[in-house]
């Protein structure tokens, strides 16, 4: 499944957020339902919800693993997802249970290509 989350694996932790394209499509983020710490998820599982004024968007785990951190700053300031989707607006961190899974994901260039395709606009965020 192709969707609009990004993942950054560093030092055994995978940080997850949504792309700039996705935050733009979602528009004003007013609430983020973050996963519980310690929750174990499989790749592709719906794990979090981003809410705009008009709609809710499911967020999928890009890799399998255990939730080891959530971005508490989003509780007070959910609009961080809009202002800084790739940095301060990260959503949660996973401890990957299947290392190497991330290699099957799109890289930035592939994602840009994907955004040009009609499928990108029907896909879940």
């Amino acid at each position: 499944m192709k969707s609009h989350e990004w993942v950054c694996v560093e030092g055994g932790t995978a940080s997850v957020g949504v792309s700039d394209h996705a935050q733009h499509e979602i528009t004003d983020v007013v609430y983020v339902e973050l996963p519980k710490l310690g929750r174990k998820v499989a790749q592709g599982e719906a794990i979090s919800v981003i809410e705009s004024v008009k709609a809710a968007f499911d967020i999928y785990a890009p890799v399998s693993g255990e939730v080891v951190a959530v971005n508490e700053a989003l509780t007070k300031d959910p609009a961080l997802v809009n202002r800084s989707p790739h940095e301060e607006g990260w959503l949660f961190k996973l401890k990957p249970s299947k290392p190497g899974e991330e290699n099957g994901l799109m890289d930035f260039a592939k994602y840009q290509e994907f955004l040009q395709s009609p499928a990108a606009h029907g896909a879940s965020h």
Binding site: T27, D28, V30, Y31, E33, V49, E51, V53, K54, A55
Partner: protein, 373 residues
């Protein structure tokens, strides 16, 4: 809406495109849901002023010596109460005590009335009107295609409108007047759907772009922003206004919606009166109830509502309230006994989240409170 159906566009379509609006299908009309941001547009209306293209709304003129008699028959509210230059909010009743549409009727003098109806119900309303003209000296003229409509809303609306239409500032809340806009016969009413002071311009479509550009150019200095349907919905829900087809319809009555104040049983006969009387006498089994979340989350239309652990209904309108910074929503609950402050739960993404019932509206501006006093 199927892909084969062509969406209707208002005369301001090109203006919306040029402003970068995100357009959506609203009851067959291609209209802006937002320009830049629903939150910013909402804030502009609450703090300064917003400009809305509401050209999808319908306008029906009623003329003739029996105009009032006709309007009294097809309205729950007392149209005889408004003199020339005044407007009134009312419901069009059906035989069984439900609501055909909610409208604003303006008395323009000399047996002429202008009825503003909802976009999705123009055709249905016109058939309903025609059905009740029999034997009456009354003429009805559906001018919905001829007119466009712009709403100027917010605490700075009067300052903006007063620049070119100083006469409009003499209008009280729910005042109505005929005037010329770019040399074309037009109506201005001091009405709106946002909970703020404001005006609505009903003008021929051919000059609406000039009016829009003029208001927007001059309005920018006052913090005025173009606003889409997204902000229109959050603003009206905070202000406790109904959305026809979502909060009220042919199967829900004015009483159930908490709008008993628009039903005047003592004014003489009207369509379905016996059923409205019956409802009032027998009391309500369900009632449109306002809820506010006490936990975080965003409720949506269709969200189930639980009271005392049992499902009591679902929300028909719901959103994140930018003013209250909380989830709000209203729905028909089969617990007409509930008082404001009663505990309830909403089911969001499979989880029960705390809410409480509230007295409506969620929000009232000082301008509106003072106008009512």
């Amino acid at each position: 809406m199927t892909a084969t159906t062509e969406l209707r566009r208002t005369a301001l379509y090109e203006a919306h495109k040029a402003l970068g609006a995100k357009l959506v299908d609203f009851h067959g009309w291609e209209l802006p849901i937002q320009y830049e941001s629903i939150l910013k547009e909402h804030a502009a209306v609450r703090n300064q002023c917003g400009l809305f293209d509401v050209s999808h709304m319908g306008q029906v003129w009623v003329y003739g010596p029996d105009s009032l008699k006709f309007l009294q028959t097809i309205n729950t509210n007392d149209i005889g109460k408004i003199g020339p230059g005044k407007a009134i909010y009312s419901h069009l009743p059906n035989e069984k005590g439900g609501v055909v549409d909610d409208v604003i009727v303006s008395n323009m003098g000399e047996d002429r009335y202008l009825v503003v109806v909802n976009a999705a119900t123009v055709d249905k309303d016109f058939v309903y009107f025609q059905k009740h003209t029999q034997g009456l000296k009354v003429e009805i003229d559906n001018m919905s295609d001829y007119y466009g409509m712009i709403a100027v809303q917010g605490p700075k609306a009067a300052a903006l409108v007063g620049l070119d239409y100083p006469k409009a500032l003499e209008l009280p809340r729910f005042g109505a007047m005929m005037t010329e806009v770019f040399d074309q016969k037009s109506a201005i009413t001091r009405t709106g759907y946002t909970g703020e002071d404001g005006f609505e311009f009903i003008v021929p479509s051919e000059i609406i772009s000039r009016l829009w550009d003029n208001l927007l150019t001059k309005g920018r200095a006052l913090g005025c922003a173009p606003c889409g349907l997204g902000a229109r919905d959050t603003l009206r829900l905070e202000a406790g206004y109904l959305l026809y087809g979502q909060d009220i319809d042919d199967d829900h009555s004015s009483y159930e919606a908490g709008y008993g104040w628009v039903v005047k049983l003592d004014k003489g006969d009207f369509v379905g009166k016996a059923n409205f009387e019956k409802q009032k006498k027998e009391g309500l089994k369900r009632k449109l109830t306002g809820l506010r979340m006490t936990e975080r989350g965003v409720p949506r239309p269709g969200t189930p509502v639980f009271v005392d652990g049992k499902q009591a209904g679902t929300l028909c309108s719901a959103t994140f309230s930018p003013t209250l910074q909380a989830g709000i929503g209203q729905g028909y609950l089969d617990r007409a006994d509930l008082k404001p402050g009663a505990k309830a739960e909403l089911e969001l993404h499979g989880r029960r989240v705390a809410a409480e019932t509230v007295k409506m509206p969620y929000y009232a501006s000082e301008d509106i409170k003072n106008a009512k006093a």
